[in-house]
């Protein structure tokens, strides 16, 4: 909300505080001042311009104006502006409350700047037509300097949504620091606000409360007299700077009351008003509001029934037919207290959010109906020469307000402070609380304008706020630690391995478009009910689209190749419930040679990508089995994928991105995509036990190569795995040095070259020992897989 410095000074009764000082105090009290603007700063780019000529045009007129000895041509929608008048003008480049002014074209002509209304210039509430100024009077003299504080109010401080509330907060500093005995001027004292003597007669219209959600309802009837133009100008100036344009004097004063003391108010046309019933709405009642729109009300919304039909939606907006107009001569002014939750429930489905509902929802002072009517009466008397003719205040019983217990010792322990009882008592006093100190545990009764104070920790916060958060010491804790320490995080280690291998990490959104989702079939997707747009409609089922978008972004900017990864969640639903999985995925793609002078064609291939996967898996002591399968996550044509399995769980997958999908992301080169199931890896990882070192052998190693002919029905990995499983301890390593399948061998057989490395820790191995082990292993493989030795290989002295 906007607060006006001069208005606050008027309520405080002094001008001792600058706008900046007020801002500092309020911010330190938790009412954050987000900016301070001044009237003269708003005038800085504006000037007075004399209208030289006016030429009628469609929807307005073209004016020739003169400002600072220069002539400009300006289009103006206000047809009342005449030659000879002096108007408020913003030239091109000026910064105004509407934004930066530029040259705009209307028809075929350029309009050089704009003529502004007072409201558009941020100088008052009058939005009717262009603002006229006196020729020869400096703008700075026409508008005296004042400051506007832009204040952010948290939802618990509805009391601060008015100048009265802010003044109370400012004044409480003086009370706490002993400069004033108690909150006086800024509360309901007649010495601060002019208050009217309310009429003794009841209002002509009858008032009946038939809803539990209305605690108090007051109606003040008045006959409108002669307008005091100067007083009205002051009202419009203040509501304008508060952000509300002037409508007509009767409505302007209701808005003035709202900004001044925080009491929402509505003005009925009382000429036709006979009965008022505050009741809950029936099923699907329809109501035409002041904005001219028809609303179908939510059942049990509180409504104000006037003469048998709905005259207002309680706490939200008035009705079109029952509300006062500029021509009304007899009005009924409503002030009330409506239940915050009820107001919110009623207005939310209708998409309505008004200044009144905003305050009711944050709970207004429950004991200000009479005060508000007194203040309203005075305003209408002073500004509109009104005669107050009748008043009725009806109310439901208010719930008893319980005192809150307060233990100072507990408070100091909670805050880590040493606040004295005198300071604590003065703090409560400064906030308008009533205090009973007759026992160790005090009883604190909060003022009616602070319904947010309900439990003891609320009072601790008030003590901290008033004495100042700055006096709270910072105390370092004595902490105990888990001696075992933490298990290294799977994702973090894998991320490090990837970056060390040259990958860049990306972060993409967890939601994507339906178009991105079309390529996937695994699981049923989870959709958002209220997405920001079609690009954010569905929770992603794969990390692939995010990586492809990023790859495409970089490749389209002439990057020769990309290696990217992301760690994130994917989503699907099962039986109507959401499911999530943490994945680590990477993508490699290359569209051209990077152009190194000594090396060409460094394209990534599946084996390089697979090596990255296995580096990660091995880091967690996982020994996966590799196999080929069909990629089940992709929709459409079958796509082969490479899988890594540990204990019957697939922990990683790798596949080439199908061209049809690549094209969907403007990717026109080969790309490989892999993802690892981080959740499964966390489950399967072996405990990081401390390694027990063994003494390296002092003896030389021996090597033997064995070329085998293996039936095509066998897989190389199975042969290798069996050889490793059967090998004696002297076999240090077994690797594949050759794999061949071709026309010389036939379709049903392939050649596999195994290289064995032998070494013992206690002796040099003899040829007989080594050859004997080779023979033993060969026979084991022969028995298991029906392999044969390829021509030329030697088995323990025999040449095959």
């Amino acid at each position: 909300m906007n607060a006006i410095h001069s208005w606050l000074c008027e309520i405080l009764g002094h001008q001792d505080l600058t706008a900046q000082q007020m801002g500092d105090i309020l911010t330190a009290r938790g009412i954050e001042v987000e900016g301070i603007d001044s009237i003269h700063a708003r005038l800085q780019d504006l000037c007075a311009a004399e209208v030289i000529s006016a030429e009628p045009a469609e929807r307005g007129q073209w004016l020739q104006i003169k400002a600072s000895d220069k002539k400009y041509s300006v289009f103006c929608t206000d047809k009342t502006v005449q030659a000879g008048e002096t108007v408020l003008y913003a030239p091109p480049g000026a910064q105004t409350a509407l934004g930066s002014v530029s040259v705009r074209t209307f028809g075929e002509r350029n309009s050089e700047g704009v003529l502004l209304s007072e409201f558009e210039a941020g100088l008052g509430g009058n939005a009717e037509g262009v603002c006229r100024v006196d020729a020869g009077t400096a703008l700075q003299d026409r508008w005296q300097q004042d400051w506007i504080l832009d204040i952010g109010i948290t939802p618990n401080r509805g009391d601060a949504l008015s100048h009265l509330g802010l003044a109370r907060e400012l004044e409480s500093v003086d009370v706490f620091e002993g400069r004033k005995p108690a909150l006086e001027r800024s509360t309901r004292s007649g010495s601060v606000f002019a208050l009217a003597k309310l009429p003794a007669d009841a209002a002509r219209a009858t008032v009946q409360i038939a809803s539990d959600t209305c605690r108090t309802y007051g109606l003040l009837e008045a006959e409108i007299g002669t307008v005091d133009a100067d007083a009205l100008a002051k009202v419009q100036y203040r509501i304008g700077l508060s952000g509300q344009r002037a409508i007509h004097p009767i409505a302007d004063l209701t808005n003035y009351l709202l900004f001044e003391i925080g009491q929402p108010c509505h003005a009925f046309d009382a000429g036709r008003l006979e009965t008022i019933v505050i009741r809950d709405s029936q099923t699907e009642e329809v109501f035409t509001a002041l904005d001219g729109k028809e609303y179908k009300l939510v059942p049990e919304s509180c409504v104000i029934e006037c003469n048998g039909s709905i005259g207002a939606l309680a706490g939200v907006i008035g009705g079109l037919d029952s509300s006062s107009t500029a021509e009304s001569t007899c009005i009924g002014l409503e002030v009330a207290w409506f239940d915050p939750i009820q107001v919110r429930k009623a207005r939310t489905p209708l998409g309505l959010n008004t200044d009144s509902s905003y305050r009711f929802e944050r709970e207004i002072d429950s004991d200000m109906a009479t005060f508000s009517l007194q203040r309203l009466g005075a305003l209408y008397q002073d500004v509109l020469g009104a005669k107050l003719t009748g008043m009725t205040v009806a109310s439901n019983p208010a719930p008893a307000k319980a005192a809150i217990p307060f233990n100072l010792q507990a408070c100091n322990s909670f805050l880590g402070t040493n606040v004295s009882s005198e300071d604590a008592a003065r703090a409560f006093l400064s906030l308008g609380c009533a205090l009973d100190r007759s026992h160790d545990t005090w009883q604190v009764t909060s003022p009616t304008w602070r319904p947010d104070l309900a439990i003891e920790p609320d009072l601790y916060e008030e003590i901290a706020r008033v004495v100042g958060y700055d006096i709270i010491p910072d105390q370092l804790p004595f902490l105990t630690f888990d001696v075992q320490g933490r298990l290294e995080d799977v994702t973090g280690i894998a991320e490090d391995l990837l970056t060390e291998s040259g990958f860049h990490e990306i972060v993409s959104y967890d939601f994507y478009s339906r178009k991105d989702d079309q390529w996937f079939q695994a699981g049923k997707q989870v959709e958002l009910q209220n997405p920001l747009g079609k690009d954010f409609a569905i929770m992603r089922r794969s990390l692939l689209p995010g990586l492809l978008h990023a790859a495409s972004y970089n490749l389209n900017r002439q990057a020769p190749a990309v290696a990217l990864f992301e760690s994130g969640r994917v989503y699907w639903q099962e039986n109507g419930k959401p499911c999530e999985q943490q994945q680590l995925a990477f993508l490699v793609a290359s569209q051209k040679d990077a152009g190194h002078w000594n090396r060409q064609n460094n394209d990534p291939d599946w084996m390089a990508a697979a090596a990255v996967v296995e580096t990660i898996l091995h880091r967690f002591r996982l020994e996966p089995v590799r196999s080929k399968g069909v990629c089940t996550e992709l929709a459409g044509k079958d796509q082969d994928q490479l899988c890594w399995m540990v204990e019957d769980s697939i922990v990683a997958r790798l596949y080439e991105v199908p061209a049809r999908i690549g094209k969907g992301f403007q990717l026109r080169c080969q790309a490989w995509y892999a993802w690892l199931d981080v959740d499964a890896m966390r489950q399967l990882r072996k405990d990081a036990a401390i390694t027990r070192a063994s003494e390296p052998s002092q003896f030389p190693s021996a090597e033997r190569d064995l070329a085998l002919l293996v039936p095509a029905s066998c897989q190389a990995g199975a042969v290798l795995a069996l050889a490793r499983a059967q090998a004696a301890t002297m076999v240090e390593d077994i690797t594949v040095f050759d794999h061949y399948q071709g026309k010389n061998l036939g379709d049903d057989i392939f050649s596999l070259g195994l290289r064995f490395t032998f070494r013992a820790t206690d002796r040099s191995l003899s040829s007989d020992e080594v050859d004997g082990e080779i023979a033993r292993l060969y026979h084991a493989l022969e028995k298991a897989f029906k392999v044969r030795v390829r021509e030329g290989s030697v088995i323990h002295g025999e040449t095959a």
Partner: protein, 346 residues
């Protein structure tokens, strides 16, 4: 030596003598050193037809001849190339590209935060991104139809409501507090890093961003501890001593609540562009855990007090690295990302 090979050797040596310029020498190399297209090609091709005993000896002779001719010509082209490009000749030539991968700046900052709190004895907890209304709101003292719900514009998920209300994307990491309290006994010290979602998108707001939640529940934890922990954290994060200022604020799940400012780490509080000339930078929100939240976590608020804080990783990363537009984080531009390859945080 095989007769044919001996004749060839003679011819080759004579031809080398007469090849005086580099073009002629190149032609000679093609003719005599190329195993596949040169004069020796038929001999190599004939190997497979020779008897095993002969094959071994003939192969050795061929290789010896090739080696001798290579020596005659001052090395083959391949060996010439190695010599010409050896590091001893020109050590400044680029070597093969070194891996220049990078962690995302958000990961770097998140890890830095995690490591500071791990050193303070906090554990890392994680929660689901799809939550329900109870854990995201009610358990955190944000009842239905409370204006505080407007502080966080919520994405709702199109799934049948559960017993705990509608499904939604968590708007903050605070639901992890409740889950963690329900499954752990005090003393509780945990941080919960993770992605959160709000319906807001412009140059300074992203519909998805990262938060780190902190929770410490124990007997006699005080507001002064909160201030001490945060000052220590901020000084270690920015790697210099910083002043911490707490301002009263409002969060439904803490009481008292505070916004935390730190003295500007660029100008030391003198006022600069980074701190909008105020000398202070707003960095996070915090407070003492509201008794209703402790109750919702299954603990006794009369026995245990707690402090909690939540910070935005994007905001800290923007401050730390001087990043002006939040959208850079989500584009995946390698040009942007590789700037952070020297930032190491494990």
């Amino acid at each position: 030596m095989h007769g044919e090979l001996a004749a060839l050797d003679q011819a080759a040596r004579a031809a080398w003598e007469s090849a005086t310029d580099s073009a002629a020498q190149d032609a000679w190399r093609q003719q005599y050193l190329n195993k596949k297209k040169g004069v020796l090609a038929p001999f190599f091709a004939s190997m497979r037809d020779r008897a095993p005993e002969e094959r071994k000896q003939f192969g050795q002779e061929l290789n010896q001849l090739l080696q001798a001719w290579g020596t005659l010509a001052g090395g083959s082209r391949a060996s010439e190339k190695i010599e010409a490009t050896d590091w001893k000749t020109d050590p400044t030539l680029p070597i093969y590209p070194t891996p220049n991968g990078s962690l995302h700046p958000l990961t770097i900052v998140r890890r830095r935060i995690e490591n500071i709190f791990l050193d303070l004895g906090f554990e890392i907890a994680r929660g689901t991104h799809v939550e329900n209304e109870f854990f995201n709101f009610e358990a955190l003292n944000i009842p239905g139809h409370h204006p505080a719900r407007e502080m966080q514009d919520t994405f709702y998920v199109d799934l049948p409501a559960s017993d705990d209300g509608r499904w939604l994307l968590r708007t903050h990491t605070s639901p992890v507090q409740i889950h963690y309290m329900q499954s752990h006994e005090p003393p509780i010290r945990m941080i919960a890093p993770g992605r959160v979602f709000r319906s807001d998108h412009d140059a300074t707001h992203s519909p998805m961003f990262q938060q780190v939640e902190g929770l410490w529940i124990e007997e006699n934890v005080s507001f002064a501890h909160l201030k001490g922990v945060l000052r220590l954290f901020m000084s270690r994060l920015f790697k210099r001593s910083v002043q911490v200022r707490l301002r009263p604020s409002y969060f439904p799940f803490t009481e008292p609540s505070a916004e935390v400012d730190i003295s500007c780490f660029v100008c030391d509080g003198a006022g600069c562009q980074t701190c909008s000339r105020s000398g202070w930078i707003e960095v996070l929100g915090c407070g003492m855990v509201h008794p209703e939240v402790i109750k919702a976590g299954g603990l006794d608020p009369d026995k245990h007090t707690g402090l909690a804080f939540g910070l935005g990783v994007e905001r800290l990363a923007m401050l730390l690295f001087g990043i002006r537009d939040i959208r850079h984080f989500y584009r995946g531009s390698v040009e942007f990302l590789e700037q952070f390859r020297h930032e190491v945080e494990r």
